[in-house]
Symmetry: C2
Subunit: 553 residues, 2 copies
């Protein structure tokens, strides 16, 4: 699996999904092209999916919000007879490298979290209309919807057969959503998750696995009726016309560097490092929200979010040996603030809201990226507001102190804004500063009291906003030592350490999915019982069960 995976797509290229727009209701059909796998060696039978299918779904979900703000209810359904979705493709999983499996699951989790949150964040409610078999990742798709309807016939059921059938977990949030979202009683959850054939009809309803069970003959009508009723109840303001998300301006160089309009990714393979430079606005902020809307996908804040998001995904899946991501910014902080302020001031405006919500997701994606990350606050940088969030999303932040010889850029400073105190919570529901100053209200309010002041190194350091401030003499050496050290450590130990240190404090369903559930799944994805030559994933389809070492760990 060495081909470059492209996370950009658009509706005319879809092979697996289609959407029929009907005013406030969008009917979303999953109709996977068996021969449309991202890689060779497997067929995507029975609406099973691989990363390529999920990249399209992520695109659907994203465009639904930006291009179709009129939509209030999305009905996720199958375009095939007798099967809703069979889950992740097993042959694909069986053939994939551990790192691909793990990153595939992370991306699918992010997409599910995104459409699950769409009701609250964007007033778009997802209904899963389940006809036919809905198993494993298929049921996990439904679990992430806000309402599950199941038809009551002899072949329609919901199931999580991973444990009995494949010796792995329902790892795309399945176990967590069963207990924490649907609040299925734990012993019934145990029965459900070890029953290959799943649960049907009234029992599925009684166990809380679905929200409604409807006779087959009335199902389609009941679904549309439910969709209309939800749409009528949705308190979403009537939206204007959506905007169009055109293809990104993106070039990949021969050395692996990636250049977007605002983001540059430089690759240093010897140092196993990618440096992401974010450039400040290339134009003044629009004067009005109407002017902002007229800029469409070229508005600075949206364009930057899209480019940064794509860069992170590209590095995650295509550059697995680059263990360190270094963030830099360069630009005019006042301009960044002006662009951001317009959005914060008009948070009720649909597009301003969507762009802010999107930044929330991009920052969360960075939080859960399994790479060591650092930020450099250099002279000429523009870490303010939403861009300053990067300073606390990363593992360490180094800041320039005093003058550097021959460097005429404006002195390095950090400027906090309202953006740092609420609109971009982490998956734990704390802001990054709340996490940083866990239970330390004094430190937090000291930082907040400095809002809109340009904080140079000493002030930023004494407020606890950066890890280390360094002058001209120490800057290069200290950073080089850190980067070399990081490159020498075991990547696995880094991943485990970062997954624990980054998320102090309370847990939510989302953190539990990325923390507890994912970690157990990763463990299982390393165990011979699942992935060995006689393990369940390899033997799937042969008629033989996995040959298990029965020792309990």
């Amino acid at each position: 699996m060495t081909k470059v995976i492209d996370f950009q797509t658009e509706p005319s290229s879809y092979r697996h999904w289609r959407v029929e727009y009907d005013g406030p209701i969008a009917n979303l059909f999953m109709d996977v092209d068996e021969n449309g796998g991202l890689f060779d060696g497997y067929q995507l039978k029975l609406n099973s999916y691989d990363l390529g299918v999920d990249i399209e779904l992520a695109d659907v979900v994203q465009r639904m919000r930006f291009e179709h703000p009129e939509v209030k209810v999305v009905v996720m359904q199958s375009g095939k007879d007798k099967v809703f979705c069979a889950g992740a493709n097993i042959r694909m999983l069986g053939g994939a490298a551990h790192s691909h499996k793990v990153n595939f699951c992370k991306f699918t989790n992010e997409t599910r979290n995104t459409f699950e949150a769409a009701e609250k964040d964007s007033g778009q409610k997802y209904i899963a209309a389940v006809k036919g078999a809905c198993a494993g990742g298929g049921y996990e798709l439904a679990l992430a919807c806000n309402h599950i309807m199941l038809t009551d016939d002899s072949t329609s059921s919901v199931a999580l057969p991973e444990v009995p059938l494949l010796a792995v977990l329902p790892g795309t949030g399945g176990l967590t959503r069963v207990t924490d979202k649907r609040k299925v009683r734990r012993d019934l959850a145990d029965v459900f998750c070890s029953t290959e054939e799943g649960v049907k009809g009234k029992r599925a309803l009684a166990w809380r696995l679905v929200d409604e069970v409807v006779a087959n003959s009335k199902f389609d009508e009941a679904v549309q009726e439910r969709a209309r009723a939800f749409a009528a109840d949705m308190p979403k303001p009537e939206a204007a016309q959506g905007i169009t998300l055109d293809p990104l301006d993106k070039t990949i160089g021969a050395d692996g560097s990636v250049t977007y309009s605002l983001v540059e990714v430089l690759v240093d393979r010897d140092a196993r490092k990618a440096t992401l430079t974010i450039n400040g606005p290339d134009a003044e902020a629009p004067d009005t929200i109407a002017a902002f809307e007229a800029q469409g996908d070229q508005a600075y804040m949206l364009r930057l979010a899209r480019e940064l998001d794509d860069a992170i995904l590209h590095l995650r899946l295509n550059e697995m040996e680059l263990g360190l991501l270094v963030f830099r910014t360069q630009g005019d902080p006042a301009r960044v603030q002006a662009h951001e302020a317009l959005l914060l001031e008009h948070r009720e405006h649909w597009l301003a809201n969507e762009v802010l919500q999107y930044w929330k997701r991009v920052l969360k994606r960075i939080d859960v990226t399994s790479r060591s990350m650092s930020a450099l606050v250099e002279h000429g940088s523009c870490y303010t507001g939403v861009l300053a969030e990067l300073l606390w999303a990363v593992d360490r932040t180094y800041m320039m102190e005093d003058e550097f010889e021959g460097d005429n850029r404006p002195t390095a400073a950090i400027t906090l804004t309202d953006a740092n105190f609420g609109p971009f919570p982490m998956s734990s529901d704390l802001t990054r500063l709340e996490t940083r100053f866990l239970d330390d209200a004094e430190a937090l309010s000291a930082a907040e009291s400095q809002k809109l002041n340009a904080l140079e190194a000493e002030d930023a350091d004494s407020l606890g906003l950066v890890t280390m401030i360094l002058d001209d003499i120490d800057w290069e050496d200290e950073i080089r030592i850190f980067e070399e050290e990081r490159a020498s450590f075991s990547p696995d130990a880094m991943t485990g350490m970062e997954a624990n240190l980054r998320f102090a404090g309370p847990e939510t369903m989302e953190t539990r999915i990325f923390g507890r559930l994912t970690a157990w799944q990763n463990w299982i994805f390393n165990r011979p019982n699942a992935v060995g030559p006689d393990g369940a994933l390899q033997r799937y389809g042969t008629g033989l069960r996995g040959d298990y070492n029965m020792e309990r760990v």
Copy 2:
């Protein structure tokens, strides 16, 4: 590592610890016998530890509470010069099977949680008095204390060198306690956890890694002074004389069965199953708390807790291929209630409190046991109060309904008591019934309204207290099918599934240690970078670093 590990010990057998009692203060010295390893092949240099050392520590902590209720402050310190504790022994870890490593870590975690909670639960506060190197598991010992004092000299430091040195995590709570208990800022935590040599003196204090730094010349005096001050402030009632914990009445049969005075463990190797039968009280409850105290360690509630605890530990470490633990009870429920009621009524009494706290720990130990577990509610059983907690600690509960041919025992019933609504929280701080009925106050209060009523099958089922009720016709078949099914699944998938389904709802530092942190450590304990022939654990001490695959997962 096939010898039977015995979790029972007593002070005259200790090889690694000694305690000097001084009124309300106990000075606890770690002085590990290099040649006293539990297994061959390694020396326990520099106060490093293996499971045998930790079994003694667990015994110290337990006896401190039962035999020395007069103690209010425990000072954990080193009996060696220049080293506090070097952590888990690396050669032992390098040579141990994955299953031993994981279960070793679980037990050490439980012991640390126990002495950490001793302040709140039993009015015994632990001080770590750190002189010399305090690294890895050594610093994790200190982290679990309630107060850390560090001497200020050139050789004394605290460190978590696991990541840079060994490519594994500080997995005995280290990462979690650094962020969640000590609230070390996450970027400083990142620096700390990747700095092999650790942090000394004032910086350790400034980073919150320790609570006090004291000049070397004044250290011993300052520690004792602090201990006396804490003791004076401890709101603990003046305790009576402690009781003695005599050796358990325990026989291991040739077939692996274990017989205690109240607990029997039957082993069925073909079915990979152990059946634990708990017998009800063999005598009436004492009339008064004084009479209870006079019974010492022979009091039913204490004797049973000790036997059950030992049985669980025995099965965990010595019987790793028994994947299913089946709980049974037989006895007079009214008697169980009477024994329990005396303790609940006298919760303020030191010994009643200790026995209740111990039950809390035993039940938590069951919660985190990586085996499938079921409970059978048969005729003649005595699932009431604390014993009924077992019904919701396990994964599934089967209950007999109506008469069974030839069975004259009293009809199966479950009786809830006050014990089911508060005194025995899980590690999530919810009771087992609150977890079972997550956010369903109605179901919870319906159960509570039936307190002290003997609930036969239909009632227990409609209240949601059991998984399945079965009559004479179905009982054997249904249970056999479940047990066979369970024995056929991948043990790893079971472990992962159970670790997720058992802990719905909120997380605490404790659940994060057993869930998130442990799962990542288990993953790393399977990765070649740590445990492969060229991994860091094997290469430790050779002067060579691990040879790492640098791909990020």
